[in-house]
Subunit: 198 residues, 2 copies
DNA sequence: TTAGATAATGAATTATTATTCATTCCAGCG
DNA sequence: CGCTGGAATGAATAATAATTCATTATCTAA
């Protein structure tokens, strides 16, 4: 098995992304991936241990890239609200730019759960970023003190994922990033938005 | 293939639920399901067309049951807020009561998407319920007029699913239903909860 | 009690694919 | 030009599991 991350290695990973997104991990075959990448079946085994390893590498790689970008996005903001907005914006942007990744992260939930111990998984790090943001917001006084942080962060992540999921189902026919501001508005103000309830 | 919904039919479906939840659809084997149900492998084929059909029937059945209950829950409420609260409460209650269902609905996203045309799927009907509630809230004046309903309903469903997902990952070690009120509070008031901005 | 029908069994069959590895290709070098 | 070692090939192999069906068990009604 080759060690270096050659051009061919990336070609195969990209093709695997296409095929996994299209057919799902289990229905995808090695032959499909190989022919999509323009190499022979056996060649995949020069670069990857087995079929599982291809998915594993795909996820690790994408996770690392997105992780990096999200961290930067958050660091760019000053207030908690800015940080939250930047994070959501970045999230939607990255997933819109890479629909295969979006589909695979949605579809292979089971696999993601199974490897969650070996990998710094994306949900975990996302939830940690959110914890920090919320705590900062509470200190600043821009967010309520009576929040149960464990719930709030899950609430926020779940909602973005839901929005992405709908976008994926719609075959990506509209601008996902345009949802960022309305979404953040909902996080901050809710559907009541300060209307008096007696 | 038997037509009537005998006791054995349900025994097999329940066992399949256990096995699918535990191993995922693709890694689960017919033999596992059969032995769990205390019947021979061949017997499954007297009740189901094939392996896919078992998952299909499982999902159809659970969807129908939950659909019914959610409708009732919503109908019981009077105001939009009551309806929303009842819906979320019912949702969390049903999934807490049937962890296998919760796991399968989370894990087999891909399969769910693929059969979404043949089946009155649970997300679709859920989103429709939410649309009605939000519109009612706007008419009542208890919800903002400037909401993009398409986004709001996705936001709400995504957040509940996220909360359930965390609960599943935690092996169901805490009371899921207790999350209902804090969650609804977040939907209505957001994390700012009326704290002045600016 | 038993003939006929119905249900259940599980070993054998079949189909599918991941994986291996003997062979071929090819780039760089003396 | 040959030679050599690493890279690539793809047909053959192996393993897994879904599905079938000849056989056996169980039930029902006369």
């Amino acid at each position: 098995m080759q060690k270096n991350r050659s051009e061919k290695y990336h070609k195969i990973l990209t093709s695997a992304g296409d095929v996994f997104a299209r057919f799902g991990f289990y229905k995808a075959t090695i032959s499909q991936i190989a022919s999509q990448a323009g190499v022979a079946d056996g060649t995949l085994y020069l670069y990857f241990k087995n079929k599982d390893d291809i998915l594993y590498q795909f996820i690790s790689y994408k996770t690392a890239v997105v992780f990096e970008k999200m961290n930067t996005a958050v660091a760019t903001g000053k207030t908690a609200e800015e940080k939250l907005r930047n994070l959501i914006h970045c999230h939607l942007q990255e997933f819109q730019n890479d629909k295969n990744m979006a589909v695979i992260f949605q579809s292979e939930v089971r696999y993601l759960r199974d490897i969650q111990s070996q990998i710094k998984d994306i949900s975990k790090m996302y939830l940690d970023l959110l914890s920090d943001i919320i705590e900062q917001g509470q200190i600043e006084g821009s967010m309520r003190q009576d929040l149960f942080v464990g719930l709030v962060k899950r609430f926020i992540l779940g909602a973005v994922e839901g929005v992405i999921s709908t976008w994926v189902s719609a075959e990506g026919r509209y601008d996902l990033v345009a949802m960022a501001d309305p979404l953040v508005d909902l996080y901050l103000n809710g559907v009541r938005g300060g209307i008096n309830s007696i």
